[in-house]
Amino acid sequence: MLLSNNEGKEFLLMGNQAIARGALEAGVSVAAGYPGTPSSEIIENLASVAPDADLYVEWSVNEKVSLEVAAAGSFAGLRSLCVMKQNGVNVASDFLLHLVLSGTRGGMVLIPCDDPGAISSVNEGESRYFARLMEIPLLEPGDFQEAKDMTKWAFELSEELGNVVMLRSVTRLSHASGNVKLGALNRTKPTAEFNFSGNLLDAKTGPVITAPVPFRHTQQQAKLKKAAALFETSPFNRYEGPEKPELLIITSSACYLYSREALRVLDAEKRAGILKLGTTWPLPPELLKKHLAAAEKVLIVEEVLPFLEENIKIFAMDSIDSIGKIKFFGKNDGTLPSVNEMNPDHVIKAISSILSIPYTGMPEEYEKSGQILSFTKSPNRELTFCPGCPHRASYWSINRALTLNGENGFVCGDIGCYTMAILPAGFGTIKTAHSMGSGTGVASGFGKLKSFGMKQPVVSVCGDSTFFHAGMPALVNAVHNNSDMLLVILDNSGTAMTGFQPHPGIPSGAAGNELPGLDIENICRSIGAKTFTADPFNIAATEKKVLDIIENETGARVLIMKQPCALSPEKKGKKKYNVSVDSSICKGTDCGCNRLCTRVFRCPGLVWDNAAGKAVIDEIICAGCGVCADICPSGAIKRSEVVL
């Protein structure tokens, strides 16, 4: 479908798919990114057609480099795309700050996909502010058709202005699906050439630099003004509703759909109007003035922080003579929450209160009854590691080694599936968790606090993908500064949490193409860290090794725990062992066991049969890793190698 012409045909597409199609319709040549939910499918979709589409697609080592890679494509005259989740923009922001000064050539679009409500994140940061801060245009599709159409247009806009355009999506668009009519697919094969011999000050033909800064900055601001003028007539800014609405709703992104829904539910479509903005920075001044002048009450509906709200309020203040005084409703006055994701019910509540329309979404009694029944009868689903996950075994050993050592040692966590060790799934082993690579950076700091009397052993965990992303500089820091800490690299051969994408340690690329894989062990040794390896599935040996390294070695040390992810192609669906429980030996709740396997180890393949008072293996769920056989204090869990 992605590469089929099919112009005019309608398909049910996921937002990310629509964006990918839009990029292809625009003739994108280079696409780079770093895996991050909810953005990853954009690159994955493009990668799936790359071989047939004269398209270069790359999973870069981190977001900063992905933006640099995409920029190179643009400098060489190609249309290029860079994709990341919200906090990826933070990582890329240093380069972005300079890129927007130097300007771009081939159309370049930066697509951050935000995750309001942190459904798959450990933050609900905002990428929109970066557009304003970096003084580049910000586009926000309001539905799935726009996701495609605006992406295509973004490249044209970028070329017209000579700068990066940010197109921002959210989980509720990226991962949702809707009807999309495809456009024409005209794939040409442009030639890449980097032109730099022109005049130093010529952005199109000279070297791509940011100096002289005030000169470039002036040019940059002029581009923004040009964009604002173009936005006045953009079809992506639309008004629907009465000419003189009692309430004007200004909204963007998925919130447009929530606002429409709210008006329909409250039967208020004749009383309120919706100004949907697809271009949210810079604001189109005349369009805004026209609609603000026609309203006395304005509700601004957007995700998380009051970005749009504050920009509009500033504009309204500046234009107060022509539009008059306005009563604004939004986040700053508490009408809408500034934490967690937006949904139709928040918008309904806001409008119902502003327009005094009574509304009961769910009768109070029903709601109460539902809550009690749900609480008492539907058991909570805690997150856990998959059956056969090496992290469960790794944390088992790390946790036990630190306990044996008895000096209140701790683990600084990082980002990946293994972050779940803040939960019982990983025995609560992780004690700090922030951003990519930060665990090792923080540990590097902790490892220098001995002179202040700190006696606790310092450990950090980092995945293989995270290591390349941001862990390496932190390790360099630890080694060079003689920090006393142990970095445990949980190498499961892939970027698992986001869908098992490859990374520089894996000998393949985004499109499944063969590429050289870098060896983590060699890198660590070259950096100068005392480097050890272990197989986490051998829990006795691994525990001993961790304890030994903590107690008998000093300085910056690395222990690589190497065992592929249970969902990796080489492992998925294949059992190494057949595992079973001998119920005649199983001690269950007795003193001497107290259900260690089911209650503490907690692999979903180990089931507690309350009626029988014994543990049982669920053969369908069990991945056959065999580790639980070594956990059992009575030797009741048996494993036998599967003979092929």
């Binding site: 309608e10 398909f11 049910l12 939910t37 909810p38 459904i119 798959s120 539905d143 799935f144 989980t171 509720r172 668009l173 991962h175 949702a176 699906s177 809707g178 009807n179 998925a254 759909l257 929530y258 429409r260 829904e261 709210a262 539910v265 949904n343 139709p344 019910d345 309904i348 979404g361 769910m362 029903y366 709601e367 009854s369 539902g370 809550q371 029944l373 749900s374 009868k377 539907s378 058991p379 909570n380 689903r381 805690e382 997150l383 856990t384 590691f385 599936c417 799934a425 949490m497 986001t498 259900r595 089911t598 209650r599 907690r602 979903p604 180990l606 089931v607 507690w608 309350n610 669920d618």
Partner: protein, 204 residues
């Protein structure tokens, strides 16, 4: 048909919620409807509850989240999720069709939490909804040859309720686009079986 018609497909991460939603969504899109499917992936892969919100409309596209209390049909691939969804999006008039095969949360598996018996769950659901049907979709799928067919059976059951303009031919063409030719017939068999089972749910 109520417009927009609001469907929630719910289950546990990894069950095939997304595929089932696409199956159903594509079938209705082929019939000329505006379809919006709202989903959350990511962490829910690791054993958490998942929901897909489907909006079906002749008029226009609607939001990927259904307002509280406004579901018209709940398709539960996992039984206890039907109760969870009811509590947030249910009402007395909503119709439920649910599989009977439990997927135990880790808390239940490890013996910390209790999982309700099916009659127990049914009476809880009955307190919130007047028409809930439990069908042994997984059992039937295994009998047909593969547990993964249970999702197709569930979509069939939803079709069997007659609330939606689900065209069997449209469904077949969706299946044909997603499975190898040799598997089309067994999938259609499962779909038809599901339709049958909706009329003959588990009796309590």
């Amino acid at each position: 048909m109520i417009d927009p018609f609001n469907i929630i497909i719910t289950g546990v991460g990894g069950q095939g919620n997304v595929l089932a939603a696409r199956m159903l969504g594509n079938t209705l899109a082929k019939a000329g409807y505006y379809v919006t499917i709202g989903e959350t992936f990511g962490a829910s892969q690791r054993g958490g509850s998942v929901m897909s919100h489907l909006r079906i409309s002749k008029e226009s596209a609607w939001s990927p989240q259904i307002p509280k209390g406004k579901a018209h049909l709940i398709i539960a691939l996992e039984p206890v999720e039907s109760l969870r969804v009811l509590a947030a999006y249910g009402n007395r008039e909503v119709k439920i069709v649910s599989n009977t095969r439990p997927i135990y949360p880790v808390g239940v598996i490890c013996g910390d939490l209790a999982y309700p018996s099916l009659p127990d769950l049914n009476s809880a659901v009955a307190q919130l909804c007047d028409d809930a049907r439990f069908i042994n979709a997984t059992e039937e799928a295994v009998a047909l040859g593969h547990p993964i067919l249970s999702n197709v059976i569930m979509v069939g059951a939803a079709a069997g309720l007659g609330l939606l303009p689900i065209d069997d031919e449209a469904f077949k063409s969706v299946i044909s686009e997603n499975v190898p030719e040799s598997k089309i017939e067994i999938n259609m068999k499962a779909y038809r079986k599901g339709k049958e089972m909706a009329g003959d749910p588990v009796k309590f």
